[in-house]
Symmetry: C2
Subunit: 250 residues, 2 copies
């Protein structure tokens, strides 16, 4: 989606997205999926934190020494998390309060400066959005009301992974699109039941959008994915999370 403004604290993301779709003369149709980066939502929610204003707890100070990070950044990571998954020098992987296992609680310092920041302020950090499933639902409601079409909405972030290098887009908020697509009942080309065929549909949509947004000459935080077939769903992004008890790498 071209033509989106830089989103600021207090902006109405659902209205901006719906307006941009209309302005782009793309009539939204049934089955369209609107993918929005977490960064856009975080900025609209004012999830900026100025590090000099953060008072690290004793636990954050001790952990920061162990992992050789800024104690104020570690304090923010701990506030956003329910558990530390792994730590090593320079690395702090946590289970985020939203359930995702992610490095640094998804807190980023790129594009993290509010446009009304005082000169000389910062450094700044930007936390993940408060409630991405609810934000996805709000955007979906607005787009559906404006268009009459049934759509899906995915809120994405870029996560690193165990075993493999580089980041990929993942879904941290979902509305309308089934997060998982269960094809186990279908037959293979020989009539045999398909195995291993629960696809992480919302994560793959997030990867597509991350690929497209990252390749745009300027970053484009909203991507329209057209041509998917899916049944409407009311499941959120937590559907994508493996329970801690069933996770061999927890």
């Amino acid at each position: 989606m071209p033509g989106l403004p830089l989103v600021e604290r207090g902006d109405d993301v659902a209205g901006i997205v719906a307006g941009a779709l209309m302005a782009a003369a793309l009539s939204v149709v049934d089955g369209d999926v609107i993918v929005v980066t977490s960064k856009l939502l975080s900025r609209a929610e004012g999830r900026f934190v100025e590090l000099p204003r953060v008072e690290p707890s004793p636990r954050a100070v001790a952990l920061a020494r162990e992992v050789q990070k800024d104690p104020r950044a570690v304090e923010l990571i701990l506030r956003e998390s329910v558990a530390v998954s792994r730590q090593a020098p320079g690395v702090l992987v946590v289970r985020h309060r939203l359930g995702f296992v992610v490095a640094n609680a998804g807190i980023d310092a790129s594009n993290a400066v509010p446009s009304d920041a005082r000169p000389g302020s910062g450094p700044w950090a930007l936390l993940l959005p408060e409630a991405p499933d609810a934000s996805a639902a709000a955007i979906r409601a607005r787009v559906e009301a404006a268009s009459g079409a049934r759509v899906g909405v995915v809120i994405t972030d870029s996560f690193g992974r165990p075993f493999r290098l580089g980041t990929v887009g993942v879904a941290i908020g979902v509305s309308g699109l089934p997060p998982l697509w269960d094809r186990r009942g279908e037959a293979d080309l020989f009539g045999r039941a398909l195995e291993n065929t629960i696809t992480a549909l919302a994560d793959q949509v997030a990867a597509v959008a991350d690929l497209v947004a990252g390749q745009a000459s300027e970053r484009r935080p909203v991507v329209l994915v057209r041509g998917l077939r899916f049944d409407p769903s009311e499941q959120g992004a937590s559907t994508l999370l493996r329970g801690v008890d069933e996770d061999l790498y927890a």
Copy 2:
């Protein structure tokens, strides 16, 4: 790509792919990426194994008892692996000889029957291709020779993941496309250096193709991805693997 035949043992995959591109009247252009599923390659390489012909080792028998799997399947998994990463009832995650951490060594039983199988034979299993990077390079050379364009080729499989449910497409063979895309030198919208911006480009391309192929009404094992910008690369899929020493979840 429509119109591909069911590939059989001994088929020339590079020739089939190049021919299908020509037949589809899609003139290949610079920057096109051709994505081929591992299953198609495995079938062409004749990587079928009939389980009744597998003699499980004592180690496979013991491990099969622990994880409650068929000892013949466990024998195949061990033969294809260099180490067991995690085991639990019903689950065997290994480091494949190609370096990837993957459940069941990527061995599949869907679409795993050779078309010349004797009636009553099987059950059959299909191993991952022998050398996916080399196969990607061969397909690339054939397509580039036929078209004059510079292209990328990605060989994909669908992997599960720690922490998250559902499978996603990942790259197990790469030629021409940089597996990782390093954007660290670029500036964010405020002129600050971007962080955390090594993107797993080939994995995201694999996710796109997995999404498209899975959504096709019949499976389409070859997908053409157009519109990416990348510099030619000679790196293979092992570029995507985190070293065991640096892997906090190894």
